[in-house]
């Protein structure tokens, strides 16, 4: 036993413990490092306009990730989210354009269909006890089919009122989209609810140990159905943001929404086993992906390499998380 490892061991584990105690620190550090890196590579990166663009680029995935985070915290997973988003955006725009429904009513109907899907997901996982992976794989396909049955053509005549969240306002010389602000507000609400209410605590408790949660008086089925329903509501809102950003109701949209949102959640330091993670981690995770895509693009790297690097990032992030939890 030489002196060196003895001295090094506690310091090493202190960093690990810091990461363990505040799992969001790692992702934040990664985000900052990525920003510094790209700032040194291209001078177009470090500008208000570019950051606003990044926010705008991640607002749809970020909003999807809010719901995904909630579901993953309970120890589940939601593969259906991108398709639920597509269904809501196609249905809302379609009702307005093809059936002449009032935009407000159409939005409400679109969101209601999403919530119904969420309740279905939650009910199947709790009442029948099916694994969330299977249930949401099923509803993914159902929602996909419903979209295609409803329309195969892109819905282009979208009223201005639905495009509001794509509009911008300016702070100084920087233009910011209302949609990215909406995403940030949704994150803030989710953060408040998860951190400071009974419902939020219940989500963590159910994710950590469902039986112990039940025996502590928590109505676990209600919590789970509620989580899937709220998650689906966030997918519906993501659908509205998507319409606002693209200006159309696109039946092809959302097919990689599940994997993209899981990527954001995982990069944000949330454990796929449930019970451990922070909602703001999902925001940071989404931003990390956004910054890499944006930065690499500015550097002129092809989009397929951006995907490649995202893949590497995910594996790296999970390895760090895994090693820090295995280390004694």
């Amino acid at each position: 036993m030489t002196a060196a490892p003895t001295a090094a061991a506690p310091r090493h584990s202190r960093i690990i413990d810091l990461l363990r105690g505040a799992p969001i620190l790692g992702p934040v550090a990664a985000l900052i490092l990525a920003c510094i890196f790209f700032a040194t590579q291209t001078d177009r990166f470090l500008s208000g306009a570019n950051f606003s663009l990044i926010l705008q680029q991640v607002m749809v995935v970020g909003t999807l990730a809010i719901g995904q985070e909630l579901v993953i915290l309970t120890g589940g997973i939601d593969l259906s989210n991108g398709m639920i988003m597509a269904l809501s955006s196609v249905l809302t725009t379609g009702l307005i354009a093809n059936s002449g429904v009032h935009p407000f009513l159409a939005v409400v109907l679109g969101l209601a269909v999403c919530v119904a899907f969420g309740v279905l997901n939650g009910w199947l996982t709790t009442a029948i006890g099916l694994p969330p992976f299977i249930v949401t794989l099923g509803t993914f396909n159902i929602a996909y089919a419903l979209v295609r049955i409803y329309t195969t053509a892109t819905i282009t005549s979208v009223p201005d009122s639905l495009l509001f969240f794509g509009n911008t306002f300016s702070i100084g010389s920087t233009e910011i989209t209302y949609g990215s602000i909406l995403m940030l507000v949704l994150f803030a609400i989710a953060w408040l609810v998860l951190g400071s209410t009974r419902a939020g605590r219940s989500v963590y408790a159910v994710g950590d140990n469902p039986e112990a949660a039940r025996l502590a008086g928590i109505r676990t089925s209600r919590v789970l159905v509620g989580v899937y329903a709220m998650a689906a509501l966030s997918y519906g809102i993501a659908g509205l943001l998507l319409v606002a950003r693209t200006g159309v109701g696109d039946p092809q949209a959302g097919q990689t929404g599940n994997l993209d949102s899981i990527t954001a959640v995982v990069l944000g330091g949330t454990s796929l086993l449930g019970g451990r993670g922070q909602i703001m981690g999902a925001l940071v995770g989404a931003l990390i992906v956004g910054v890499f895509r944006n930065g690499l693009q500015l550097m002129g790297v092809g989009s397929i390499y951006q995907v490649l690097i995202t893949g590497i990032l995910v594996i790296l992030a999970v390895s760090v998380d895994y090693l820090s939890h295995r280390a004694k």
């Binding site: 036993m1 003895t6 061991a9 506690p10 584990s13 202190r14 690990i16 413990d17 363990r20 105690g21 408040l192 400071s196 209410t197 009974r198 605590r201 963590y204 408790a205 950590d208 140990n209 039986e211 112990a212 949660a213 039940r214 025996l215 502590a216 008086g217 928590i218 109505r219 454990s271 019970g275 451990r276 004694k328």
Partner: protein
């Protein structure tokens, strides 16, 4: 009995010298030494969080030490992994079972080391050798039984067999008796003694003082991660030992019970659960401590889980005269019932969450204003409970997973002290809790009853049942077979009813 031989004999097998180990925020061990001889039982004692489990985890290769040296038969050795420990012949039986529950007894005993005959597993040898090992322990369980169908005591025998199937010179047992009832203890003792006779050195951790005097040759005591001392058991008294462990005299373990039970709080009539509970009826009064005795598997846990609404059941219940339907734990808690579960890991703790969340999870309703948790109020409550129960933790935001077993148990108890309960049900409440803290928990129970709380306490520790209960119900095979007033209760009286018939003779003789 030959358990307490006066003079040390046998050569020293293992020595640990000046062991140190730090975790972030905690210096778990500092300058700790111990030694074990061939054929000797060394009891490792100390309060909750003293560092006992950490020390043996260093020995078994689960943790690596920061400082100190380990000698095996006089030679310095390095243990960096469980494999290293196994190679030296050090086997460990952790408190949490490490068995593959869906495999058979024989498969578990040979797990990871199945002998081959050509390309196939040599099942004949597996079954034959397993039988031999079980016989050596005097165990009658079938080698083909699926482990999950065995009782906890039998599973423990399988664990011991598994370690005996490897070369074992040192056997470490971390609170093996915590999961056992009084009647299974005797078998464990016999096994330990026979291993001792084979020359195996044994390190035995327990909080039950009586066992130490019955089983151990020597004790090593730790306190706050430091070495306090080593004594021959023959040379110390119970009081001296307790003083070494907690650093002060322990006046009375049990408080004087002066509360006069009031009106009937809970009335249970014909409680039934398929095959497990048959027509159980009783009453609990305000301010009363009602003890439930019986061997493990006698249906006590099943009764209280039904009352708490955790499992489906039949029968009728009333709380303060009003009908009560135990439809769910949520409903039970709403009606003022709390249950400290028997299995803290599976049914109690949120291991990855912190002390605060674990403590206040059932109390949040009262801590919320306008839907939001009042942090200051919550923090004050948790701090108070940490102090009252002397929970040892670096802070309220520490993860429960890293706490010592006894401190985890205290967290579970504190969860139910955090809310206003009228009926507190405690299933093995002091499991794994040190002598000093036990006495504090008894004190708290006593205070609660003064405020009119009725307590149902299940315990397999007879001194605890006798020391705390105003009235004792004895269960056997799912029914209540006897009721004893405090004045008439004795260990013999309880065991006679708990075991029933002829078996009672042997058990009573031991007690």
């Amino acid at each position: 009995m030959t358990a307490t031989t006066a003079t040390p004999q046998g050569k020293v097998l293992l020595e640990m010298k000046d062991i140190g180990k730090s975790f972030p925020d905690v210096k778990a061990l500092q300058g700790v030494s111990l030694s074990v001889r061939e054929g000797e039982v060394l009891a490792l004692l100390g309060e909750n969080g003293a560092g006992k489990s950490t020390l043996i985890k260093i020995l078994s290769g689960a943790y690596t030490k920061d400082e100190g040296e380990i000698f095996f038969e006089g030679q310095p050795v390095t243990i960096r992994s469980p494999q290293d420990a196994q190679d030296l012949g050090i086997s460990t039986i952790y408190q949490e079972s490490n068995l593959a529950k869906d495999l058979t007894v024989a498969e578990n005993i040979f797990l990871g080391r199945l002998p081959a005959k050509g390309l196939l597993v040599d099942w004949e040898t597996v079954r034959k050798k397993s039988r031999e090992i079980l016989d050596r322990l005097g165990a009658t369980i079938s080698v083909d039984a699926i482990v999950s169908t065995l009782s906890v005591a039998e599973q423990q025998l399988v664990e011991i067999s598994k370690s005996l199937n490897r070369k074992t010179r040192i056997l470490i047992m971390d609170e093996p008796s915590a999961v056992l009832g009084e009647s299974d203890l005797e078998r464990l003792f016999q096994v330990v003694r026979s291993l001792q006779a084979e020359g195996i050195g044994i390190i035995y951790i327990s909080h039950r003082m009586r066992e130490i005097f019955e089983l151990a040759d020597e004790v090593t005591v730790l306190k706050d991660g430091r070495f306090v001392g080593t004594r021959r058991v023959a040379d110390v008294t119970m009081d001296e030992l307790v003083r070494l462990i907690i650093g002060r005299d322990l006046e009375d373990v049990f408080p004087r019970r002066e509360v006069v039970p009031g009106e009937v709080l809970l009335e249970v009539k014909n409680l039934r659960r398929a095959r497990l509970v048959h027509d159980v009826s009783f009453q609990l009064r305000a301010g009363e401590i009602l003890g439930f005795a019986g061997i493990t598997g006698s249906g006590r846990t099943e009764v209280v889980r039904a009352i708490f609404g955790a499992d489906a059941h039949g029968g009728e219940m009333r709380i303060s005269g009003k009908p009560y339907r135990a439809s769910s734990p949520t409903e039970a808690i709403r009606r003022g019932i709390a249950l400290v579960n028997e299995d803290r890991k599976a049914h109690g703790l949120f291991l990855k969450l912190d002390v605060t969340v674990n403590t206040t999870i059932a109390a949040l309703k009262g801590l919320c204003r306008a839907g939001f948790i009042q942090r200051a109020k919550e923090k004050a409550l948790v701090q108070k409970l940490i102090q009252d129960l002397r929970i040892k933790t670096p802070g309220a935001s520490s993860i429960v997973l890293n706490m010592s077993g006894g401190n985890q148990q205290k967290v579970i108890i504190s969860r139910w002290l955090a809310i206003d309960t009228r009926i507190l049900i405690m299933d093995e409440p002091t499991r794994g809790i040190d002598v000093g803290s036990k006495s504090e928990i008894y004190q708290i129970m006593n205070e609660l009853t003064k405020r009119g709380v009725g307590i149902i306490m299940i315990s397999s520790e007879l001194p605890e049942v006798l020391g705390m209960s105003d009235r004792i119900l004895v269960m056997r095979e799912g029914t209540i077979v006897g009721e004893l007033a405090r004045a008439d209760a004795s260990e013999e009286a309880i065991m006679k009813r708990a075991v029933g018939g002829d078996l009672a003779q042997g058990a009573a003789a031991r007690a």
